[in-house]
């Protein structure tokens, strides 16, 4: 099958019987729901750009499994060049959508599961790698979007999987049959889950011997019996329900999406199982997926950052402040922070290495440094953007007021819209509407629905800051560095 267009992707979602709950009710037409649709448009962009000669060099690749042209989001990285192109592709999509485009989790899961199943088979004599290769070929040939589902609800963080009061707080195997397994539990914060054709499930953390039922990895269609999703709400999301909403949305066309994905006794056939009790490989899978995903943020958030920097510069221009030296300096600082993130994403890709399975893994230390920076720099970037934009970003009247033709009974006899237009004008030559548009864009990304993707996702997505610090401690080679100091200082003991 040829690569899908964005429109074909959207139509393919309609053919699924995905069970979606939103605001306490089941949503049958979730594809066209105004709160959900912007996130679908974002994923559609990953399809449309792959069709565009101007972008296909990044957006597509040649499958090492079939030799066929595939979307890079379904590709296994076969060298540092692929890892670098992945980051560049993510920056491109961030620039085109100013949102989380959601398809990265699947790509990162493919690469982690591919190498881990190979090594697991070698150690345990299992057949997971062949199962997984067949799954990847199916995804590549049908150009599917896959949710790489890792994060369990986790309940009491002080307790392991098996110690929880509710055994469902981590996804586990509840029944083993000759033809497959039955799984139960949930995955939280699942980016793009509703928009995905398939779910590729992995353990959320290392698993001890006594908790082997929690060491499980598998793939199921998003409409598998027993699987349903509860949509995660975002700040100001109901603005999208306001009739005719446009400017007040900030980013009308694109957005991100997270949901709680529940597995209520879902059957998984044998050929879709990639880990089933091999607890000694759960940690490897988690570490590899997290590494790839921490690399990802050195691309996607940078692309979004590019748009924020542009918006801040426009806001300054419309305010008549673009020549102020402090504004110029703030734009320089935003650029410096943004490009530092990109540098980390590129660096951990350049230092990638070949796994036993043949695909390439990023440099774990540099990827964790990348993500650690991502937990901080976007916050500073939006702080500077708010500084440049000014308070009007959050005190402006609504779009409805700007468009209102209601006369205000005062001597001037102007409408509400005319009063707004008069007092919220900026420099000559720029309409008040355009000024409003750029300020609403900044509001949306700094503290509206898109802040989910740019701020809190930067903090907690791909692991919270402490998770990276643990990895940095493990990879940092402090003993080796102590020896360097001893050698130079002449310490011989």
């Amino acid at each position: 099958m040829a690569l899908m267009t964005g429109e074909q992707y959207i139509e393919s979602l309609r053919k699924l019987d995905t069970q979606v709950y939103l605001f306490g009710r089941k949503e049958p037409n979730w594809v066209d729901h105004p709160i959900i649709r912007p996130s679908i448009n974002c994923v559609a962009m990953t399809y449309d750009l792959a069709q565009d000669p101007e972008h296909e060099d990044l957006m597509t690749a040649t499958s090492n499994l079939t030799g066929r042209k595939v979307n890079r989001f379904a590709h296994l990285h076969m060298g540092p060049g692929d890892l670098i192109k992945k980051v560049k592709m993510q920056r491109l999509l961030g620039r085109k959508t100013a949102s989380c485009f959601q398809r990265c989790v699947g790509m990162d899961a493919f690469n982690a599961v591919f190498s881990t199943t190979y090594e697991c088979d070698k150690a345990h004599g299992t057949n997971y790698h062949e199962n997984f290769k067949n799954f990847v070929i199916y995804v590549q040939d049908n150009d599917l979007t896959v949710d790489g589902a890792m994060t369990d609800p986790k309940g009491d963080r002080g307790k392991s999987q098996g110690q929880q009061a509710d055994s469902d707080l981590f996804v586990r195997v509840v029944e083993r049959r000759p033809d497959g397994i039955v799984v139960r539990g949930a995955k939280a914060h699942q980016t793009g889950s509703i928009n995905s054709h398939e779910h590729l499930v992995m353990p959320t953390q290392a698993v001890a011997e006594g908790d082997a039922d929690y060491a499980v990895s598998f793939a199921v269609p998003s409409d598998a019996p027993g699987l349903f999703m509860i949509y995660g709400r975002q700040a100001s999301d109901t603005r999208k329900l306001e009739p005719g909403a446009d400017i007040d949305l900030g980013n009308k066309r694109f957005g991100g999406q997270e949901a709680l994905v529940v597995f209520d006794n879902v059957f998984v056939p044998n050929e879709r199982i990639f880990m089933n009790g091999e607890y000694d490989f759960a940690g490897m899978l988690v570490e590899r997926f997290a590494g790839y995903h921490r690399q990802s943020y050195g691309g996607c958030k940078v692309g979004v950052g590019d748009v924020i920097i542009g918006a801040a510069a426009l806001a300054a221009e419309y305010n008549g402040a673009s020549k102020a030296s402090h504004v110029k300096d703030k734009l320089i600082e935003m650029t410096h922070l943004n490009e530092t993130l990109y540098s980390c994403g590129i660096a951990c890709s350049c230092e990638g290495y070949c796994t036993e399975a043949g695909n390439y893994q990023i440099d774990l230390l540099l990827a964790n440094v990348c993500k650690q920076n991502v937990t901080r720099f976007p916050y500073e970037i939006v702080r500077l953007a708010e500084d440049i934009a000014g308070g009007l970003m959050v005190t402006m009247p609504s779009e409805t007021d700007f468009k209102s033709d209601l006369k205000v009974p005062t001597p001037s006899d102007l409408t509400v819209g005319e009063w707004c237009g008069k007092f919220f004008a900026g420099i000559e030559g720029v309409t008040t509407e355009n000024r409003m548009r750029i300020l609403r864009f900044l509001e949306n990304i700094c503290l509206g629905s898109s802040a989910v993707g740019y701020r809190t996702e930067s903090m907690h997505g791909a692991g919270s800051p402490q998770a990276q610090r643990i990895m940095i401690a493990r990879q940092g080679d402090i003993d080796g560095k102590k020896q360097l100091a001893k050698d130079i200082a002449g310490i011989k003991d």
Binding site: P53, E54, H55, E56, D57, L58, M89, R91, L92
Partner: protein, 100 residues
């Protein structure tokens, strides 16, 4: 001469690559009048082109042209205004191709 046009992925292009490529095509056509016809089409793998025009968003020139086969006759644009130089290089290649 048949020229294949190949773009890099455009991750952070600082200029309009499509417009620059169009300007290069027009300038090359004008410059090649004496050297014979020159035609442009989107490059495809294994296309066997007389020359490849590679339009890159920056100096990194990271477009993968390994499978586009133009026998080393590759002309790059990597900045705004680069079309003039590219058109001149294409005209030279067209002239060489016309030689018996």
């Amino acid at each position: 001469m048949n020229v294949g046009v190949k773009y890099c992925g455009g991750c952070r292009s600082g200029y309009g690559r499509k417009a620059e490529a169009a300007r290069a095509e027009a300038a090359a056509r004008a410059a090649c009048e004496a050297a014979g016809r020159v035609s442009f089409s989107a490059a495809e793998k294994g296309g066997g082109y007389g020359a490849l025009l590679v339009v890159c968003g920056c100096k990194a020139r990271c477009a993968d042209i390994s499978q586009y086969g133009a026998g080393g006759r590759t002309v790059y644009i990597d900045h705004e205004g680069g079309h003039q130089e590219a058109a001149g290089a294409l005209a030279l290649l067209a002239k060489e191709e016309k030689k018996p």
